[in-house]
Symmetry: C2
């Protein structure tokens, strides 16, 4: 169970650059595989954003991360212990990249796909050593949100996920290990379910984009940062917990479920969402809003960690 | 636009006792209308739970709240300026209580229903002065979570909701004023939408109760405490914001929507949820878990307020 010291990141988009920043700032040697001339700039931007957050969260970022760049997998050094794939969400493109990569890494080098939309088993199909491939899906950005979802494919070796979990935990992440693959894993399914109703409320004219967002930030977010949805209802059931909740409110919940919307992202709905967001942001730029999010989430995570540590 | 100094709370269950604690600790005179012999004990328990939370949030709870008890609406003093109804979720029961109440309050006394499941217009039907009735739906517990949803019925006077908003804001609450009524308002619809998928993930065997809750607390909650669901996706769209997100990921989201589950709370699902919750709580009592929730959420809200105040 050797430690993972040298990591390759395949693709320096938003997620790949974020991973590279996290790995590098946490003292791992990083090789970014991306032929794009802007790869180094993107990673440097992510490092600049991630550094104060990791410092605030007590993760002691290194002063000078060791991040190198190559244009192709064929230029990788032999000691790469894990490849974190972060290519666009296109299963065929990812499979081709894995087949191209495999001859240039050791047989036991781990391959972690960041995919939210593709399932691991089809990605294992073209590999000579498929037992080392799995999903390690981060939230966005990877250096901010703690959770990494670890998902095995049919051919993933049983020892791989525990080893990966130990690695991501060393970087201050929290891991959830699923027993099998499911489209969207957990986080994106739950997020999509909430957003579907959010879109319905806007599209049906029941509320504005800003009102729906306020309902979440002021009515649900702080609670969900401490208790999951099952626990919330367990606590709403008084002494009998979940059983009491289901007896008292199970029927009401089923009525709400029956009344939830099933919008589509047609042109008119897209227009409502884009215009509603413009009204809600009042001209503030995406970069400034993202910076406010990072600062806010960092405060929330610090509060959560302080609580855990008594 | 006179200030609301004396509030009556109709029903001292979990929500009513919580309202009474909030009103009393924030210096309002409170009369609880409940014939149950345990009403005073329940309210005293809520006061004990709420006091440290309100103090931690800078709301300066009074040392000795002025909370009185009567068995029936007929015993109310004439200066009650707002009646906060918190009876069980039964529309007929609530309507009967309002009709019984109306002769004993002034014509301009506000009537706020805490209902999450009943709509306001049908509750206005039997009133002589229906223009003063509206929904003021708190999250649970009312003294902890900031949001109060204000919902007008068809006959609600236009001046009522702004006056109510000012009152709840004086108690440290945040208000969202809906333009019309919708089953479950915003918070419970959004919460139900997320929980439907949470139940599906457990019922289908994809994840345990504890794993689903962890996906929310570690992957979504801290972000939702700062940014609503629309803002999250606006920030995932890079420079082009929501428009970029919809172009890049709109199709993927629609595929996730199509794959979401539609569970029912049948006996087998209820058993899985209750047993899953037992496994997740590892024998910890509901009261201890609720206390941990209150402490955790208080930390989150303090962090959020510190951030707002720079």
């Amino acid at each position: 169970m050797n430690e993972i010291r040298h990591v390759a990141v395949l693709g320096a988009g938003l997620i790949g650059a974020g991973w590279a920043a996290l790995f590098g700032l946490c003292g791992r040697r990083v090789t970014v595989i991306d032929p794009h001339p802007h790869a180094a700039t993107r990673v440097a931007d992510a490092v600049a954003q991630a550094r104060p957050v990791l410092a605030a969260l007590g993760l002691a970022p290194v002063a000078t991360p060791a991040i190198g760049y190559v244009a192709s997998s064929s230029q990788l050094d032999a000691d790469v212990a894990l490849v974190q794939e972060a290519l666009p969400e296109d299963a065929a493109l990812k499979r081709a990249a894995f087949e191209q990569l495999e001859p240039f890494i050791a047989t036991d080098t781990l391959i972690a796909s960041s995919s939210s939309g593709c399932l691991p088993t089809p990605m294992q199909a073209g590999l000579v050593h498929p037992q080392r491939l799995f999903i390690a899906h981060p939230c966005n950005p990877p250096w901010l949100m703690p959770l990494v979802e670890l998902v095995p494919g049919r051919y993933t070796d049983a020892a791989v996920l525990p080893r990966a979990a130990a690695f991501y935990q060393q970087l201050g992440r929290r891991t959830v290990q699923l027993s099998g693959e499911i489209r969207g894993h957990l986080v994106n399914r739950l997020q999509a379910a909430l957003w579907r109703e959010a879109v319905h409320l806007v599209a049906s004219g029941a509320a504005t984009v800003e009102q729906v967002d306020q309902a979440v930030t002021e009515g649900l977010g702080a609670r969900w940062a401490c208790c999951g949805p099952h626990m919330i209802f367990h606590l709403a059931g008084a002494e009998r917990g979940m059983a009491g909740f289901l007896d008292n409110l199970g029927e009401a919940v089923e009525q709400w479920w029956a009344d939830l919307g099933t919008p589509t992202l047609d042109d008119e709905t897209r227009r409502l969402l884009i215009e509603g967001m413009q009204a809600a942001t009042r001209g503030r730029e995406v970069a400034a809003l993202a910076s406010a999010r990072d600062q806010g989430v960092t405060h929330m995570l610090r509060a959560a960690r302080a609580l855990e540590n008594g």
